[in-house]
């Protein structure tokens, strides 16, 4: 937390290679401070502690599904205002009940995500914070 200008992002994905590379990229831009979490169940405790400006959630994880975690976040008085961005490997939207670019009211990006696009989306989500 050396520079307040950096946007704090919590990245939750069960694949360590993804969290590692995405963290590398985002922090490489100099605009983000990223904390990663590979266990879905740890998402909320990590968020409480880290106080991110945006939470990026994978949807399909072995120990917890992103949709449930998002609902828990929205129900948490401390975290309920934190914007959520879903990352999904399922493009078949009928399966995740997605429409108009949103899943359960949250924006989502389909993997593999263009990093430029991820940066833009994160900036937009964290901007109003």
């Amino acid at each position: 937390m050396e520079t307040t200008a950096k946007k704090r992002v919590l990245l939750v994905d069960d694949e360590p290679t993804i969290t590692r590379t995405v963290k590398l990229y985002l922090e490489g831009t100099g605009a983000f401070e990223v904390r990663t979490e590979n266990q879905g169940k740890q998402a909320i405790p990590a968020a409480r502690e880290f106080r991110p400006q945006v939470i990026v959630l994978d949807i399909v994880m072995p120990d917890a599904d992103g949709g449930t975690i998002a609902a828990d976040i929205k129900a948490d008085p401390d975290l309920k205002d934190t914007p959520i961005l879903f990352l999904t490997a399922l493009v078949s939207q009928s399966e995740v009940g997605a429409h108009r670019g949103k899943i359960g009211g949250h924006p989502f990006l389909a993997k593999p995500v263009d990093m430029d696009k991820l940066v833009d989306t994160l900036n937009a989500l964290a901007g109003g914070h």
């Binding site: 993804i18 490489g28 831009t29 490997a89 078949s92 429409h99 993997k111």
Partner: protein
């Protein structure tokens, strides 16, 4: 209930007797009165008239006429006998024997003809029945075969679907890592020379291609609901041609547009239909390999032509209600060998080298067109090359698995 039958029993024989007596009285009186004029020559003349008539009636199967003529012949003989008995005629027994035996011979002959006719008719019906049975058998065989093909196809699709959903998840995650990694290297300026830079570009292209293939597969195996809207067909065609412009410009392919003017709006899922045109145009361009002419045609037609997409031209003049549009993509490539034609719609059937064709293009196109209740046909043109024809109703019926609710529109 009882009085009625007994009454009938009592009255019926009496009436029948009276009727038959009356019926018999006519010819008997006739014989008696006219026997006077019945000499041998008139018997012979009458015989010559009656016999051919009888044979004709018998042959044509007119039972009542034959019976009447036979009765006439019997009356003739009877009349002649009466004439002899009453002394108008000198008895000529050889003549009588001759006439009677001729009649008997004719009766026997007629019976024989009847038998022949009957057996011929029986043979005919047996043959017809056999033919009908054979046709029915052939039909049910064809139906069975079609059903089996459909089953195989459905099975294939279903397994593709299950596989695709699983594969998509497993593959997209590694692709994400790769893409993020490649873009990190690019962004950080870690590509220290042009070779590495080129390498990174190639790698990210490869990742995007893999992603595209997976997406196609997913689209194909679990199609989204259709987003039905009124569209300007020629607009969609133009947009598609715009998308393939660089593919076509790279080689010497001449694009000819024969787009119908003043076409009414057509209701379809523009994104999907564009995907269909894209696949057809790409196939045409790829088939021509370097140079040739690609012709894209649109025009108004009748949905009744849906059954005969290829033979549509012939009926063009008599179409009454123009309720569909037709899109044709012609190329001047080598065409499709007859043994390959039945397979081109199979998922993963391709004759293109690995990395260039997934073999999903036409199966996706067919699926989309059928979801719209339309028709896709691919034929070899007599002049060479292939003609792909798409027929779409202006207003498709709403029973396709599409569903036009706004909010189900998947984001892309």
């Amino acid at each position: 209930m009882q009085p009625i039958p007994s009454q009938v029993m009592r009255t019926l024989p009496a009436r029948a007797l009276a009727l038959s007596a009356a019926a018999l009285a006519v010819p008997i009186l006739g014989i008696v009165f006219f026997s006077e004029s019945l000499d041998r020559y008139s018997v012979l003349l009458w015989t010559l008239a009656l016999v051919p008539a009888f044979l004709l009636a018998y042959y044509r199967s007119w039972p009542w006429v034959s019976l009447a003529l036979a009765a006439g012949m019997a009356l003739l003989i009877a009349g002649y006998l009466v004439a002899i008995v009453r002394g108008f005629e000198a008895p000529d027994w050889p003549f009588l024997v001759f006439v009677v035996s001729a009649y008997i011979a004719i009766a026997l002959g007629a019976g024989w003809i009847g038998e022949l006719r009957e057996s011929a008719a029986a043979r005919q019906t047996t043959r017809q029945e056999l033919e009908r049975a054979y046709e029915a058998l052939q039909r049910s065989h064809a139906e069975l075969q079609a059903a089996q093909l459909q089953l195989i196809q459905a099975e294939k699709l279903e397994s593709v679907g299950r596989l695709a959903a699983g594969v998509a998840h497993e593959v997209k995650n590694p692709l994400m890592t790769l893409l993020a990694g490649i873009q990190y290297l690019q962004k950080q300026g870690l590509a220290t020379n042009a070779d590495v830079e080129g390498l990174l570009v190639d790698m990210s292209t490869a990742v995007k291609r893999a992603d595209f293939v997976i997406r196609e597969l997913l689209n194909f195996s679990s199609p989204h609901p259709l987003d039905m809207k009124a569209n300007d067909l020629n607009d969609v065609v133009e947009r598609t041609l715009g998308l393939v412009k660089h593919e076509v410009d790279r080689v010497r392919i001449t694009v000819v547009r024969e787009l119908g003017e003043g076409l009414p709006p057509v209701t379809f899922d523009a994104y999907r239909i564009q995907q269909v045109f894209l696949n057809l145009i790409m196939n045409a361009a790829q088939a021509m390999d370097g140079s040739g002419t690609l012709t894209v045609r649109t025009r108004l037609t009748s949905a009744s032509a849906l059954g005969t997409a290829a033979g549509n031209r012939a009926t063009g003049a008599v179409m009454s209600n123009l309720d569909a549009v037709l899109i044709e993509v012609d190329d001047t490539g080598p065409g499709i060998p007859a043994d390959k034609l039945p397979k081109i719609y199979d998922p993963f059937f391709t004759t293109k080298p690995t990395g260039q064709g997934t073999g999903l293009g036409l199966s996706v196109a067919l699926q989309i067109v059928e979801m719209h209740g339309g028709k896709l046909s691919i034929v070899n043109r007599a002049e060479g090359g292939v003609r792909a024809t798409v027929l779409l109703r202006l207003q498709p019926e709403q029973d396709t698995h599409g569903d036009d609710r706004e909010e189900t529109r998947p984001a892309r």
